[in-house]
């Protein structure tokens, strides 16, 4: 017997018990990243003086370096020079790294979506006397959300899978749990297969939500 199915079946509940931590990390990081990404995108679109340049550098760095390197910098690197970082645990470091990394990517997607909104929408808002902020919040961002939604959900899916890197910071999430189980039983194939299947199931469930959401966001555009 190459694959021990009985062992696998027994492993599912063990690994699944760490799914809440995985999902919590991904959800919290996604929520903060989304808010941050919208802010970054708006700063870039409105070309806010000074901030615009800083945001460009921020995005460039977090898109230009591997997530794993960023996590190591936060968790192992910074505490060596900034003592305040020493108190940070693996989960917090992972969530912070995921947040900043994905915010940079998502900001660019949102910026693209905003720039894709027809000029007539800006002019209509301006013509009735809306401020830039009112226009953004009420007209442009809701329309950009529809354009960006599929991409952003893809990032969320990517984010969920990327939480597995937290295991390299000593966090026992699903991947960490599987590693520990496998180290005891030497059944690496089964353990990692179980993790793979659980990730796959979570992502499939999300894809279902994604399709539902796109229908809802497209409501105003149905003929």
């Amino acid at each position: 017997m190459v694959v021990d199915l009985e062992y696998m079946a027994g492993l599912f509940p063990v690994i699944l018990s760490y799914a809440p931590l995985t999902l919590a990390m991904a959800t919290i990081a996604m929520a903060i990243a989304l808010v941050l990404a919208i802010a970054l995108a708006v700063v870039r679109v409105l070309r806010v003086p000074v901030l615009d340049r800083l945001v460009a550098v921020f995005i460039s760095f977090f898109r230009g370096t591997p997530l794993l390197v960023q996590l190591f910098l936060f968790y192992y690197g910074l505490p060596q020079v900034v003592s305040a970082f020493r108190a940070i645990d693996g989960v917090t470091a992972a969530v912070t790294g995921l947040t900043l990394h994905f915010a940079a990517y998502m900001a660019e997607s949102i910026r693209g979506a905003i720039l894709g909104i027809d000029r007539s929408q800006w002019e209509a808002g301006a013509s009735v006397g809306m401020t830039q902020v009112q226009l953004m919040r009420r007209i442009v961002l809701p329309q950009a959300a529809r354009v960006a939604a599929p991409t952003l959900l893809n990032y969320f899916i990517d984010m969920i899978k990327s939480t597995s890197l937290a295991f390299t910071l000593g966090v026992t999430e699903m991947m960490g749990a599987a590693q520990k189980e496998a180290a005891g039983s030497f059944r690496y194939l089964e353990a990692f297969l179980v993790v793979a299947l659980i990730y796959w199931a979570i992502v499939e469930a999300l894809s279902f939500v994604q399709r539902r959401m796109e229908v809802r966001l497209g409501r105003a555009f149905a003929r």
């Binding site: 809306m130 009420r138 105003a220």
Partner: protein
């Protein structure tokens, strides 16, 4: 009284508005005609700072805006006292017909929602779309969309309504209903500046017609005078072409 002095706009090396002077009396309905590319739409867009004029002054009651030094606050004030009807309707795509009308009322004029809704319903009835208030723009015909665009402008109670080629993007079958509605708006003595190629419409509703060419007002006067006894050769040639 609305006064425009020396309004100038350049796109690169090209002068599109070459020092426009114009006074508009309250309730006056002015139609702007002229060949394409002579600055008619740019004049309207500059009056609302959709295009930023390079020089000149716009005086709207107690509001004096110096184009070269206009502040963000002044531009907002100017836009809040004027209304704009776009060639391509420019309805808010994520808002229903009713919301297109209430949006500026609640967000900009800070009316309570109920009051804004009441005004929107009255406006929807006036533009003949009482039963389409919950429809999104994508579900409306071109003519219906433009009527909502006009309704949105009407509901603002603006001191000046700027109407930019309201029927140019429409299929011929919808032109009539839009002109009919604009005629009714004009009948209420709404102060307006309309750019159009519909000469018959201009004759019917205008107190004064401006003929623009090369970024200047070449000739102006009551419609009978302008259409029956044009003096400038460029106006004569233009009228022969569009007749």
């Amino acid at each position: 009284m609305i006064r425009i002095e020396g309004l100038t706009k350049r796109f690169g090396a090209r002068t599109v508005l070459d020092g426009i002077d114009l006074e508009i009396a309250p309730g006056e309905r002015i139609v702007v005609i002229g060949p394409s590319g002579t600055g008619k739409s740019t004049l309207l867009r500059c009056l609302n700072f959709l295009d930023r004029p390079d020089a000149g002054r716009i005086v709207l009651g107690d509001l004096v805006v110096d184009a070269a030094r206009a502040t963000r606050r002044q531009i907002l004030a100017l836009r809040r006292r004027t209304a704009f009807v776009f060639q391509n309707y420019a309805l808010f795509a994520n808002r229903t017909a009713r919301q297109n009308i209430t949006e500026a009322l609640t967000v900009v004029k800070r009316l309570p929602q109920a009051e804004a809704d009441a005004r929107a319903d009255a406006t929807l009835a006036e533009i003949g779309l009482a039963d389409r208030g919950d429809a999104y723009p994508a579900a409306l015909s071109g003519g219906q969309q433009q009527r909502v665009g006009i309704g949105r402008a009407m509901a603002l109670d603006a001191e000046l309504m700027l109407v930019d080629e309201p029927t140019s993007a429409l299929d011929p079958e919808w032109v009539g209903e839009v002109l009919e509605l604009l005629g009714r708006v004009a009948a209420h003595r709404q102060t307006m500046l309309i750019v159009t190629h519909e000469m018959q419409f201009a004759r019917e509703i205008a107190d004064r017609v401006l003929f623009m060419d090369g970024g200047r007002i070449v000739e102006q006067g009551p419609p009978e005078a302008l259409f029956e006894t044009p003096r400038d050769p460029r106006l004569q040639a233009f009228l022969r072409r569009v007749a």
